[in-house]
Amino acid sequence: MFKEQLNMSFENIKPSPELLDRISAMMSEEVSRKKPPLQMRAVKYAGIAAAVALAAGGTLLAVNNANHGIDTAGKGYSIAAAAADTPVTALPETAAAVQAAGAEEPAAEEMAILQAGIPVTEAAYTAEEAEEAEPEAAMFIMAADSAPVDENGMTADYDAGAGAEDNAVAPFVAKIAPETTSADGEAPLFPDAVAEAAEAAAPPVPEEAIMEIASIESADAYDPSRAAIIDGASADYLLPEEPVSADELPIEEPTAVEETAEDEAEVFIITVDDPTGVITDIPKTAACGEIFEIKTGVVYDADVLIYADGEEVARTHYDSDYWGFMFTMPDHDVVITVKFSGEW
C-alpha cells in the first residue's frame, strides 16, 4: 500500500524535457571534446617523429649501426624509425616533406612525447591506420615504408649531416646531437654551431606537455638509458614524472582537533592496516582521549569506511576535497582499517 502510494506520488517528479535536451547537448559536447585515445595520438606523434628522424636520422642510424647494426627499432633508440618500421629514406625528399606538412616548428607536446620514449609496440602502426587518424603522419610512414633498403637495412643515400641543415628538424637535432657520436665513437657528428643555433630555436617545453607525459601509461616503460639521446642539460625536466597513485596523495599534517589527554596520560600504539586513500599522516601513537581527524580522498566510485578495532569510525566531514573521520583514541592499542565498500 505504501509502495503504491509512493510510486504515485513520485510520478510527477521528473526532469523537464528542456533540461534533458540541455544535458544531451552538454554530453555531446563532452564527447566531442574528449581527446582521441592515446594510440591514435601516438600515430600522429610517431608520424612526425618519423619525418624528423628521416631528416636527421642519419645520425641516429649511424650510432645504432655502429653499435648494434640496424636494430634501431628493437633497441628503442628511435621511436620514429620504429613507427615507420623501416630504415631511413633519402633525406632531401624527407626534409621537403617535413616542410610541406607544416612541421617547421614541432609542437612542444610532440617533442615531449618523442623524448619520453613511447615503446615501439605502441607507436608502430600501419600506414592505413595512420592515414585514418592523421593523414600527414601517414604520409611519412608510407614514404618510409616504400624506401629501398639494402641488405643491412640501410638506404644507400642517407647523409648524416643533411638533417642538421634543415631548420624544420633543427630543434630535435640539437637535443640529439650532443650525445651522438660518429661511428668511431669519438667526434660529434654535428658541429657545435649547428647544435647551439638549433637549441636556441627550440621552443621551451611547457609544463602541460610534461604533465601529458606523466599521464601516459607507456611512461611506465621509460628507460633511463634513453636519456642518452636527450640533451644532458635539459634531460631532467623532460623526464616523465612518476604516476601518482591514490596512496601517494599529498600527506597532510595530522590535524589535532582537540587535546584532551593529560600530559602524563599513557600513550598507546596505533597500527594502520592498509592506509590506501588516507591523506592524513596518522600518528603512530596517541594518548587516550586524544581526538584527531583522519582524512581520505573523495572516491566517487566507492565508499570509504574506517574501522578502529572493527568498530566503524563516524564520518564527520563530506567535502569535494576530502572526507573526514573523527577518531578518538581509546585506552588501548588500536588497529585502524580502511575499507572501500563496493566494487563499482
Binding site: M1, F2, L20, V298, D303, D319, S341, W344
Partner: protein, 171 residues
C-alpha cells in the same frame, strides 16, 4: 560477460534519457529541491560520460548511477553554496518553490511524510520501496552496513507510521 561500454553520442543520450527520471527522483528525494535535483542530474551524467566505464550489465550501470547520485548529493550538500542547508533536518520549505509540485505534493501526504524524514531514513525508505532494492544493495549504494540500513528502515517506518495514520508497509 556482456560489454556494454557506450562510446557513441547516441548511446550516451539513450542512457541519459532512460535513467534521468531515476537519478532525478533520487536527487530530489535527498535534497527536497527541484533546482538542486536539476544540478545534480547534470553532474551525474557529466561524471557518467567522463567515467566511460564498462558495465557488466544494466543492473551494474543502474547501481553505479544511483551510487554517483548519492555521492553527488553529498558533495552538493557540502559545497560552499549549500553549507547553510542541513540535509539531515527536514526542510520546511520542501515543495514550496515549485507551484506545480506544490499542488501535487500538498495533495500527497505520503510524499510530504517521506520528505519530512531525516535524509538517511528517507534515502533508505526511498531505495527500498521505490527502487525495489534489497537491503544489501542499499547498503552497498549508500556505503554503510546492512545492519545500519535495517535500522534506518525500521526507524523510518516508525516515523512514517506516526505521520501517516493507517499506513501499511508491504515489507
Amino acid at each position: 560477460m556482456t560489454e556494454l561500454s557506450l562510446r557513441t553520442r547516441e548511446s550516451f543520450d539513450a542512457v541519459m534519457r532512460k535513467y534521468a527520471d531515476m537519478v532525478y527522483r533520487l536527487a530530489y528525494s535527498r535534497t527536497g529541491s527541484t533546482f538542486d535535483a536539476d544540478d545534480i542530474l547534470q553532474e551525474v551524467f557529466l561524471r557518467y560520460i567522463k567515467a566511460d566505464k564498462t558495465y557488466n550489465d544494466e543492473e551494474h550501470r543502474k547501481a553505479w548511477l544511483l551510487r554517483i547520485t548519492i555521492n553527488c548529493t553529498r558533495s552538493y550538500a557540502s559545497s560552499a553554496w549549500n553549507r547553510h542547508t542541513d540535509y539531515d533536518e527536514p526542510d520546511p520549505n520542501i515543495g514550496a518553490e515549485d507551484p506545480a509540485l506544490k499542488n501535487a505534493e500538498t495533495k500527497n501526504d505520503v510524499m510530504n511524510a517521506l520528505m519530512s524524514l531525516p535524509e538517511k531514513y528517507r534515502t533508505a525508505i526511498y531505495l527500498l520501496y521505490y527502487e525495489d532494492m534489497s537491503v544489501a544493495q542499499i547498503a552497498k549504494t549508500v556505503g554503510t552496513s546492512e545492519t545500519n540500513v535495517k535500522t534506518r528502515l525500521s526507524r523510518g517506518r516508525e516515523m512514517l507510521k506516526e505521520k501517516l495514520e493507517g499506513v501499511e508497509f508491504d515489507v
